[in-house]
Amino acid sequence: MMTQEHPRLRELRFTLQRIFRNPSAIIGFTLLIFFVGVALFAPQIAPPKYAHNPYLMPHKGYSPTPKPPGKGQIFGTTSGQYDIFYGAVWGTRIAFKIGLFVVGIAAFVGVTLGAVSGYYGGIIDEVLMRVTDVMWAVPTLVLAMAIVVAFGRGLDKIMIALAMVQWRWYVRVIRSEILTLRDQDFVQAAKIMGVSDAKIILRHILPNAIYPVLIMASMDMGSMVITASFMSFVGLGAPRGYSDWGQMVALARNYIVGPPDDPLRFWYTIVIPGGCIVLFVLAWNLIGDALRDAFDPKIRRR
């Protein structure tokens, strides 16, 4: 061996190579990097007008009719004269916030419960899975509405509501993974050595079971943003004027179709926030797909 590279690095490089052999991964990651850039540099790209709450879109006037792109407003203004460009830029931050918060909490709770339930089995499994079954019976929309009614409108409430229901998916995925891993010889071997259960789960089982979760989390990053947008659209989520893509679409709902002689006159009010949502979700889905291909045990080298 000529160069002794650390094996973990070699493995990482190998996995990255596998991922980036896939053109959809390249598109996905390019989009993602673009969105991350926009989110990071939002204050530079679109300087906030209200220092106390940069997520509020600035608006000049209250006219309900949108204004087309032009000087001052690159993307035009939507109903209520809110600046679409500003909303699109700061909406990126919101989208990441929603995705990371919901998926982070859901994955953490789901993986913990699923791991415990799958590894120990028996009565613990029975109880945890029945609790999860009860959670499966809760409709997301109704829960969100209940929370909003109880605690008031706001994007944070929606995020909590989504996190409360989303973990049930992770429980199932990780549990089924662990059920197959639990009886694998290497876990048995660790037991013979006297390794404690907690160490077995953390050191042997989770590293081998985490890949489906990663794939699902990446897909969920997108779909959570869609769901939150939908909530905002129906009026449960972000308040009026908040730079949330769903809320922006909601603002424009009266202008989806323009006057009869020019049905596409207000296209920018819908296409820009809508397009942001679509591209954001697309980015995560492409990444999820690429991860799935890369981690597929069938084509993984022996």
């Binding site: 010889d185 013979i192 050595m193 080298r301 022996r302």
Partner: protein
Amino acid sequence: MEKILELRELKKHYPILGGVLRREVNSVKALDGVDLDIYRGECLGVVGESGCGKTTAGKTIIRLHDPTSGMVYYYRKDKGPEVRIDIGSKKGSTLKKLGIRGKLQMVFQDPTTSLDPRMLVKHIIAEPIKEQVSLGGRELEHRVVRLLGLVGLTRDHLLRYPHEFSGGQRQRIAVARAIATDPEFIVLDEPTSALDVSVQSQILNLLKSLQETLNLTYLFVTHHLLVVKYMSHRTAVMYLGKIVEIARTEDIFSQSAHPYTHALLSGIPVPDVEHKQRRIVLSGDVPSPVNPPPGCRFHPRCPFTVDRCRDEEPPLEGVEAAHKAACHRKSEVEKLVRDRFGTHAQ
């Protein structure tokens, strides 16, 4: 010879749950009353067909499984005078506290599944050592390298993943991990059946030499009779959760006293064209261990069944001092086989 392990009426039943309330309706009798003495420094072969309970036996002895009933006595010598400890009823954590955990180890059948695919060789072998003693990084690495040397690998292999090795090398790593804690007793569960012929002999020879240098006791579980003949000093033949015959390996092969052993022996395809042997082809399959047949468990397939076999279960009794068989007609089996199937070619 001194004993290292003693099994008394060891049973392992896996429950079958049924009904709405998931109550136990029946059980798979994987081990159904096994008495066995294992002596220090020997290699005891356990042979039988799939589902006869040989792997379960191995796993229950080293307490990977909890026995349903019966005793597993371990004769402990390393600290002062010999003491007899019943490890069958102790919890895993207690075993670890007593320091017995590391003394009983196991090598699994398939090294691709018995090594964690996401761990480096270094960590795989260091893991059991770390469970026993706390060592500094350099000393730990030193020990790992020494273990690798014992199994014929080198320092270069430290920082690699299991999938970068061939099957034989992987099994060497698994062996290195098993001997990392200075064990006294190792269960070898079909250690070569996932390997190629040309590699199989490498591993067998390695295991043999390790047994001598480290003074190990082996329980060699396999379905491959020729491998048992090569490896073990004594051989136990299992059928449906029971030992049907146990003797010195030469005796098993030359003067077995149980019809099942005869059938097993004659069933081996021998890589030898010069002596073709007469073959006893048994009819039917191994019965289900859920409802083993009454009387002698082998009677539905046995060519020499008499009425007594259907009603009365034969005990495992001595033909000679070190040769026991569980058959009502054990004294005449040899003759019966010769009359029915011709001479048992050797």
